[in-house]
Symmetry: C2
């Protein structure tokens, strides 16, 4: 392996990562050749192989990097959730939360990543599982943790906060996400926002203890 502190190596690796991320998300694993990656990175194939053992290693590395963003997002969400909910009333804050989440999830990049990982799940079963754990599952856990806090405050009524969080998530993004992944077109912002709003209303109907909030 080349020395990682050589500025030329650093630049090459960054160029490969950027090129490979673009191409894998856009054309899939089989649809992306190592020639394509080298060309878009502006280097030769030989240089790519100087830094990455093989195509599978490169692919795994790319996906791992992308999943790191999911972790960051969950951490940020946890902080926002704790702060925002305390500030306003339940209904308003859950609508804000739902809308932000839905818009963050039903995006072209996320849909492309999902399609890629699902399509390669046979060849790379660990990546699909890791994505589920780091993205949907982690987000649901953060939501559940926030809901637990709300239950303690007496503004939410739920015995199984994990389940409530699952229902919240799939109520607000289930249909648009499923459609986007299968049909390939991301729904309009209007559609996403409306779906999120109505999803939150249904969530509140079950989990808001005070009928006046609903």
């Amino acid at each position: 392996m080349p020395r990682g502190d050589d500025p030329r190596v650093v630049r090459s690796r960054a160029a490969v990562v950027e090129a490979a991320t673009t191409l894998f998300l856009q054309k899939g694993y089989a649809g992306t050749t190592m020639e394509d990656v080298a060309a878009l990175a502006g280097i030769t194939k030989r240089t790519v192989y100087n830094n990455y053992t093989d195509k599978e290693t490169l692919f795994t590395q790319i996906v791992t990097d992308v999943l790191a963003f999911a972790d960051e997002y969950a951490v940020g969400l946890r902080a926002e959730l704790a702060a925002d909910i305390a500030a306003a009333d339940l209904r308003t804050s859950l609508h804000d939360l739902g809308r932000r989440l839905a818009l963050a999830i039903v995006r072209a990049e996320v849909v492309a990543l999902r399609r890629l990982l699902i399509g390669e799940a046979r060849a790379f079963p660990a990546l699909g599982a890791r994505y589920f754990d780091r993205a949907p599952n982690q987000m649901i856990e953060v939501l559940a943790s926030g809901f637990r806090h709300l239950v303690q405050l007496g503004v939410l009524r739920a015995t199984d906060t994990r389940r409530a969080a699952e229902q919240f998530a799939y109520l607000i993004v289930g249909e648009p996400l499923d459609r986007a992944v299968l049909v390939g077109t991301v729904p309009t912002r209007e559609h996403i926002v409306t779906c999120a709003r109505e999803g939150v209303e249904t969530f509140l109907a079950r989990y808001a203890p005070d009928p006046r909030i609903r």
Copy 2:
């Protein structure tokens, strides 16, 4: 093209369809060779090509055949829905419906088909779109139609029955289906049934007009 009424041709085609369905669902498009299909069908590759122009045509044909089952299922569902709901009370019939639907959707074969179509959505965009239209969308439309009837009977309270149907569908199968497609393992029957039951409860909380039903 060979004559379709020759019994040898009929048998060859049936063998190809069966073999290709198995292999495409199990190994994906690229992972299935025409040699594999011919071998599993017990004929030579040349005979496969006597009946199907090329691999893409065969794949499209297979998927079309599989989607025909989705249509049949929706038709059956429509009949059952009309009959069952009238028989028992709302809560019981929606729980029955939800459990049956969830178990029908979160099955290994359906998950395999979804993974296949999502993975090949780049190469065959029309197939993913057609699946969405024939399976999730059609099922939701049938549900919406049933809910509309219930609204007229006064046992359900919904202004947008299409949205109510979407929420019903993704409340009961969202999490297990997403997990199954990404992780590759179908959840236990217990998990599916519990998720469906809790989903129906949340649905009822919003859409059952009489608090006594909830």
